[in-house]
């Protein structure tokens, strides 16, 4: 399934409707849906906050292949947004200093099994894979 969403926090409700539809179609358990919602929200809100130069829609693609849940977000005509290159969050420092930012990406890294980034023709695409138990 794929759908484009306006680059705005106001899109979150329709994004969650989209992930709900996907979860129903593929019979995802509540834990898998929770993880799906969380990583999609964290990446989408990062794109909204840190790549606001253009107002292009963000493409969200969801797929399930065998026991793998595959999630991809593409930001068009954008600078590279490669979370695999982000330094690992120093959690104790974050909690101590309440430094702004970084926690969402930390959660994505904790919850996903594989994270890839592609950058081609000014399209920045993040691809996440989670191995499901069923």
């Amino acid at each position: 399934m794929e759908k484009r969403f306006k680059k705005s926090l106001d899109s979150l409700n329709s994004i969650f409707q989209f992930t709900d539809e996907f979860a129903t179609k593929h019979n995802l358990d509540p834990g898998a849906l929770f993880s799906l919602n969380l990583v999609v929200e964290e990446l989408f809100t990062n794109i909204v906050k840190y790549n606001p130069e253009n107002k292009n829609d963000v493409l969200i693609e969801l797929d399930k292949k065998s026991h793998d849940l595959i999630i991809a977000l593409t930001d068009f005509d954008a600078r590279p947004f490669d979370i695999t290159q982000r330094p690992t969050l120093n959690l104790s420092q974050y909690l101590e200093e309440r430094r702004v930012g970084g926690l969402g990406i930390h959660l994505v890294k904790q919850m996903m099994d594989k994270i890839e980034h592609e950058y081609k023709d000014r399209c920045s695409k993040i691809i996440l894979t989670k191995h499901l138990e069923n």
Binding site: T45, L91, Y94, H106, L107
Partner: protein
């Protein structure tokens, strides 16, 4: 649908989905807290880093005056998020 409100018993009641678009709804409720307080997650289905940040900011502010938030009735998925974020070391979770 998200909501954050004070109960008659003086607890903060969270319900629905606490995502990045709900920070402006939740923040005024937490900003008013001056003393230690229970936050009841009984009806909360979901929280992301945006919601966690509101809780952490409140905890830090209250800690400065020796007060704290105590969290109650987290569902197992939210409990996992707290653990991934290291928040289980910052909050008393019942």
């Amino acid at each position: 649908m998200f909501d954050a409100k004070m109960s008659d018993a003086g607890e903060v009641l969270l319900s629905g989905r606490f995502d990045a678009s709900q920070v402006d709804t939740a923040k005024p409720v937490f900003d008013k807290l001056k003393k230690s307080c229970v936050v009841n997650f009984k009806d909360l289905d979901y929280i992301s880093s945006a919601g966690l940040s509101v809780l952490l900011a409140t905890q830090k502010r209250l800690n400065e005056s020796g007060e704290k938030l105590k969290l109650r009735n987290l569902n197992k998925y939210i409990r996992d998020v707290f653990r991934y974020a290291g928040f289980d070391t910052v909050f008393e979770i019942e």
